[in-house]
Amino acid sequence: MGKTLSEKIIGKHSSKEVKAGDFVIAKVDVAAVQDGTGPLTIDKMSEVNLTQVKNPEKTVLFIDHAAPSPRKELSNAHKKLREFAKKTGSILSEAGEGVCHQRLVEDFVAPGNILIGADSHTCTSGALGAFATGMGSTDVGIGMALGKAWLKVPETFKIEVFGEFGHNVGPKDLILSLISKIGSDGATYKALEFCGKTIEKMDMSGRFTLCNMAVEAGAKTGIIASDETTKKYLAMRNREEDFKEIKADNDAVYEKIIKIDASKLKPTVSCPHTVDNTAGATELNNIKVHQVFIGSCTNGRIEDLKIAASILKDKKRNFNTRLLISPASKDIFIQALQEGLIEIFVKAGAAIVTPGCGPCVGVHAGILGDGEVCLSTQNRNFKGRMGNPEGLIYLSSPATAAYSAMLGYIADPGNI
């Protein structure tokens, strides 16, 4: 019987044939924590006297959620991560180096790997053809120490996408539409395997956006077969040797197959306070926007910034709308500087935020006032997400966000 991508990868890591529904102990290739979850991981490990990590060069501690630290409590949490990294030989990703999920795909995760991360958007790395899933501090701590984790092999939904995207419509509109269709718990425990002609033609940036948001439908991971596009991406990161072709069998068994025609999609926006509560951007012209945020592990890549810059070049943000832009990693920041994108943004009136998670997770750098509306390219709009339960968060693509920043209300970039 044929196997899905998840069954293949988990089987390889547990040295036996597996099928959906099986429970296994699987070898872990890469383990990661961030500054919100890592301190508790360290506490849990020390509770059982686990003082070392199995693979230090593949254990990464990220300072990204509160980077640079806005308060002494968080500065002390950062100290703890730095000391642990030093003691165990693990890798520390310092403030300014970027959002963990972007850094993981850039330099750490390879096709065929298993990644566990104490952050729910760990599924982003699945776009490389890896099995990547979010867990809590305890699970990841034990995984770091023992080099393995217990897993249930997930059933898979095959998401087959065909057709060309329309003007200023893209992967973010696709994933928001899919989540709206299946619901915020429509894929709980499942893997979402994205495939089809549209995915084959999609760049890695778009694939990361899709897999990043798999968890917003409740999924355990999003995953995509590795191919020439994956290979080129790894080569660009000087990691060509990490490439391995991995794809699902033609006769793999799927729990469900969902087909989507990309040509029928429109610029899509999630409305407060759940991701599956979507509307077309054109239907929301009456929503005035106080803040636009372009960045995050969902849409802070160079391709996203280029789209935003193409709309904002020689333009100004609306007088009543502040604009925050944060490249997802240091290398993306450098490229954006070299290509003149940052100058376009600053001239348009944007505040540039250090690569990291701050605004999206409501820790610092972009907390909303009471009753204020933010249109953001991030992945979540839960009540209180951006630091204030009285704030209202809408989610969109970079194109919709940039165009709306200019006009001051939610606007359809298909009209540009």
Binding site: E47, G117, G136, T138, T274, V361
Partner: protein, 167 residues
Amino acid sequence: MSIKKGTAWKFGDDISTDHIAPGRLFHLRTNLPELAKHVLEDARKDFASEMKKGDFIAAGRNFGLGSSREHAPAIIKLSGVSGVLAKSFARIFFRNSINIGLSLIECNTDLIDEKNEIEVDLKNGIVKNLSSDIEIPITPLPDIMIKILNEGGLVEHIRKHRDFQLL
């Protein structure tokens, strides 16, 4: 796993980890007793201050969606909640709760009203609504999770075996 009795506090669908342990209190994550004073504050302002040790949460669909923050189930447990009953749970929250020994019970919570008295016998898988005198069927946990829960959580499991002894 003894029989537990307590009062039910009702919550709706899609209660996220941001409702339970919001990002604006990120700096309290290294001070769980202080963070626990704000548990579920953004879903129900009266809960943290008025709940009594031993009470139950009775929620709708997809309880605990969102972040991987283990602090969310940790502060529910720390505040003295006996267990969370819900129509369904989000995956990472589910796993985290079992790992730290917080009881989760999947059942039809439409059969529970605000402030009903609930009795839970986890060992035999029986939930009773004492106020309406009905027994509510529950979805059993997978064996692997019962093992972890019986040993007091994943940390205790590892303390005992120094490895996974789950399959």
